[in-house]
């Protein structure tokens, strides 16, 4: 980027009654001359069920707060937490994909909201095997249909069919995740930009969040991705210094607004010039890296030991390429990590049928 990105605090912890625990991670939608944010309002920092969806209306030009209101929640389990609302308009409704924390599970769900209430729409039953904790699924509208970008690597995209069933469209290894020591994740719902869909990625580096932009092309494949545009190093305040988490994108004229949560306490916005952001993306085309697909279906630790020694040799001989090891049980992760094979990521055995090597 040629010009420094402008960061601006919009709402601070405590600005709204009952937000001593923070008001942050906003979803955002443009509505005429206003911007509607849907913020996570915490009464304190205990992560109790007392977390609220706070609808905050901003003036689109000045981004000054005009009004706010707590949405009444309908249809959620009483003790469930709903948080981190990522908004989008679809089919005339204001929707948001958000996290539901309930009964020991954390997973996204789809809700609708208006000026007064928020209520569930879809449990988002994706045809994927879920972990106990699932976060950072993001949505976008493509060719008139609701799509879900589940993960960036492997790039996993699904479409909601008219009957409400989610269909897997794409699941492609691309090697992007190997560039990070931490997890590479989505950040916010995608918006129309250039000839595709603009989103943000994030990862955690040395205890702080870093974020950059990405673009899916019309074929839903990754076309561009920038380096770090926003760095949590700039965040020294709040409950979690180092956390700067982009949770919504909006295009307003020549501006791209990236709304973010700051330190698990505040809401802010980074303002990008759309032309500059486009230029930055064009300078950074995404080139997938082919990964070695390796199968391991052994049942005994002895098998695992021999396989991992063989894999280490294979990695050295081939110049440490990205490796995807397909295993029957992801719980083997800690045992496999002991062998220190570089650029190795585990996948479920059922996710592939063709392999470059079989170590079983």
């Amino acid at each position: 980027m040629t010009r420094a990105v402008r960061l601006r605090r919009l709402l601070s912890r405590g600005d709204i009654p009952g937000s001593d625990g923070g008001i942050y991670n906003p979803g955002a939608m443009a509505q005429g001359r206003q911007v509607v944010l849907l913020c996570r309002r915490e009464i304190d920092y205990r992560f109790s069920p007392f977390v609220h969806a706070e609808r905050v209306v901003l003036d689109a030009e000045t981004l000054a707060v005009i009004e706010h209101r707590t949405l009444a929640r309908r249809g959620y389990p009483e003790t469930a937490r709903i948080e981190d609302f990522r908004c989008l308009a679809f089919d005339g409704a204001a929707l948001c994909i958000h996290t539901l924390v309930h009964a020991g599970r954390i997973r996204p769900m789809l809700s609708r909201f208006d000026q007064r209430r928020i209520e569930p729409v879809d449990v988002l039953a994706l045809p994927l095997r879920e972990a106990r904790v699932e976060k950072n699924w993001v949505l976008f509208v493509h060719d008139g249909a609701l799509h879900c970008l589940y993960r960036l690597d492997p790039l996993t995209v699904l479409r909601r069919e008219p009957e409400g069933v989610w269909k897997l469209l794409l699941r492609e290894e691309n090697g992007w995740g190997d560039e990070f020591s931490g997890t590479l994740s989505n950040s916010c719902n995608l918006i129309a930009f250039m000839d595709g869909h603009l989103g943000f990625w994030h990862s955690i580096v040395a205890g702080r969040y870093v974020q950059g932009a990405l673009l899916l092309g019309h074929d839903l494949r990754l076309r561009y991705r920038t380096g770090v545009l926003l760095d949590g190093q700039q965040v020294g305040a709040g409950y979690k210094p180092g956390v700067l988490y982009v949770s919504a994108l909006l295009r307003l004229g020549r501006r791209i607004l990236a709304f973010y949560g700051e330190g698990d306490a505040h809401t802010g916005v980074a303002q990008f010039d759309a032309a500059e952001l486009e230029a930055e993306l064009l300078r950074n085309p995404f080139r997938p890296t082919a990964a070695l697909r390796v199968r391991f279906a052994g049942a005994r630790m002895e098998d695992l030991y021999r396989a991992m020694l063989a894999l280490r040799v294979l990695s050295q001989e081939q110049g440490e390429p990205p490796i995807r090891l397909y295993v029957p049980d992801l719980g083997l992760g800690p045992a496999i990590a002991v062998f220190g094979v570089p650029k190795l990521a585990l996948r479920r055995l059922a996710e592939a049928s063709e392999f470059d090597h079989d170590l079983s």
Partner: protein
């Protein structure tokens, strides 16, 4: 860096607060090594009053005379038609100005009994949260900070029998009463100070106690910190209004649900003072529910800007403040 040991915040809005009683009774008890600052938070702030207070202290301790910060319910910036009781806002003003690590709030129209400061000094040294004792007398005659005579003790602190003349006694948070309250400033800032949810109603003192208890902070009753208050001065002039409106039971439950609370914890009337209790015990949260600022971030320079975030309606029944 502040080097003072304690800040005493004297809160008044009365035409006649008898500040001289307080100033004389306090300064007479101070030892030469005691390092205290006095802050008078004045709801009737004027230059004339400032000069009077300065004369009363006569250089015996550093003094600042400040106006109570803007409140939606009280003072020149208020949104209501008349002045309402707004002690939480006034007390938080003191916290903004206080420089010492320990703060003691003292109500007006009182004289501090012998031994008050000695017990207070112990609280400062220990960092305990304490609530001092009080008594309300008629016909008080005070000379050089000493109560010479008074008539019938009409209002003895209801906690008196729980107290001890040799040490502070642990009490429930609901017994943190406001005649004099001492606490580390940092502890109060962590819970965002007194809760303006109580303004227009009252109860900001015990509500703070309940919240501090949820934060795991023990509360002590310190009977040796006795302040004797004048009944006549308390009854003189027009007191600030208090409201305790009532909602139909269904509307009350609905309002409570908006706080995320599904059932009442405190049976009784469906009025705002009961809802203060229901919200406090329903959420079990140490934080404020009615403040529209993060107290630790407020400075003298930013107090005026808090008016931009004033609530426009009463939190309990959504009635416009302009109608009150």
């Amino acid at each position: 860096m502040s080097c003072v040991m304690a800040t005493l915040v004297y809160l008044t809005c009365r035409e006649e607060p008898a500040f001289e009683w307080f100033a004389d009774s306090l300064t007479a008890q101070l030892d030469p090594g005691d390092d205290v600052e006095l802050i008078v938070v004045d709801g009737a702030h004027s230059g004339e009053r400032g000069e009077r207070f300065a004369r009363a202290v006569a250089g015996r301790a550093p003094l600042r005379h400040v106006a109570a910060k803007p409140s939606p319910y009280n003072g020149v910036c208020r949104l209501t038609r008349r002045n309402f009781f707004a002690a939480a806002s006034a007390r938080n003003t003191g916290l903004v100005y206080a420089r010492a690590p320990y703060v003691i709030f003292v109500d007006d129209a009182c004289v501090l009994a012998k031994g008050w400061w000695r017990a207070a000094r112990e609280a400062v040294a220990s960092g305990r949260v304490v609530s001092g004792a009080y008594r309300k007398d008629w016909g008080m005659e005070v000379a050089r900070g000493v109560l010479i005579s008074s008539r019938a003790h009409s209002g003895l602190d209801s906690r008196w029998a729980q107290g001890d003349d040799s040490c502070p006694v642990r009490v429930p948070g609901g017994q943190l009463f406001g005649a004099s309250i001492g606490a580390p400033r940092e502890v109060l800032l962590q819970v965002n100070g007194f809760d303006e949810l109580c303004d227009s109603i009252g109860g900001e003192d015990w509500q703070l106690g309940v919240r501090l208890e949820f934060a795991g902070v023990p509360i002590y009753y310190e009977r040796r910190m006795l302040s004797v208050e004048s009944e006549e001065l308390h009854r003189h002039g027009t007191p600030f209004a208090r409201i305790d409106r009532t909602l139909p039971a269904a509307a009350y439950r609905q309002r409570l649900a908006e706080f995320g609370i599904s059932r009442r914890r405190v049976p009784g009337a469906c009025d705002s003072s009961h809802m203060l209790l229901d919200v406090a015990f329903g959420t079990e949260s140490a934080q404020t529910q009615g403040n529209y600022y993060w107290l630790a971030d407020l400075t003298e320079a930013t107090l005026a800007a808090t008016t931009q975030r004033f609530p426009r309606t009463h939190w309990f029944d959504r009635r416009p403040l302009a109608h009150l």
